[in-house]
Symmetry: C2
Subunit: 161 residues, 2 copies
């Protein structure tokens, strides 16, 4: 196992510990279902929807209900432990347990969502902090559009730039 993989694994474990601690601190119970949901959220780089989380955790808990997934996600979002990213064009909400400042890119056609590390985000953070008078605790930056692949598809369909 190389250095990068070790570091990534460590980050995921830290994320998982942070999610569980947030639930504990709020006086909420750590049921096996909630632990499994937090584990999956912390260890994925995708930005899964509630349905995808349900499908991923279901094999481990065959009795798992969608309502439990929604309940847990709602709690984590209200505690500020995960970010809810909506409007990817598929009508679903995507969840992101990575709270470090970054831009999310959502494709309105294929509905995939990816991260974009961006130096300009730090600059925006500084300016918003300085100009707003707010004590900034977090940010959700989502850009919507067409990914390179879907732009190519659209151009082939209608050759009007």
């Amino acid at each position: 196992m190389n250095e990068v993989l070790v570091r990534v694994s460590s980050e995921a474990q830290q994320r998982e510990a942070r999610l569980l601690q947030a639930l504990r601190d709020a006086g909420l119970r750590l049921t096996p279902q909630r632990r499994a949901i937090c584990h999956y959220l912390a260890h994925t780089d995708a930005h899964p929807t509630a349905q995808q989380i349900f499908a991923a955790v279901k094999p481990e808990f065959p009795s798992l209900s969608l309502a439990t997934v929604y309940n847990t996600l709602d709690a984590l979002v209200r505690l500020g432990a995960v970010h809810a990213l909506g409007g990817a064009g598929d009508g679903a909400i995507h969840y992101d347990a990575d709270l470090r400042p970054h831009v999310n890119l959502a494709c309105l056609q294929c509905h995939r969502m990816v991260d974009l590390p961006c130096e300009a985000v730090a600059d925006l953070n500084r300016r918003v902090t300085a100009e707003s008078g707010y004590r900034i605790l977090g940010a959700r930056l989502v850009y919507y559009g067409l990914c390179p692949d879907c732009q190519r598809t659209a151009r082939e369909a209608s050759p009007t730039p």
Copy 2:
């Protein structure tokens, strides 16, 4: 009528003209329904959902169909003439005809949300467009934190920064 109202009205008229021109330029037809939807979008400061637009325009066009609203909004978003803002917590998509760069500031304590005009947003837009390879059609930039009033309240309650 004072100077501010005149200026606001002028901006709304410019927005409306821009929306209609975008449809014309794309070779789409300017039906009365589409004109009414553009008029409402350009003259509201709220970020209405498709349902709200439908309810607002319906009195003028009793035969108006929701499908027409969605069709028109879809065209305007694809043309980049309005921004689609998802994930407001209500599962619906909100539309914004104000393309000027700004961020939303949400206070976690008093739950008020305000706009912050910010030059740095234009810079971020440029960088995201250049670095991502995406065709950007919209964005939702939300910062969470404590507004000045609630910071003062929090300091008085627990004097540990």
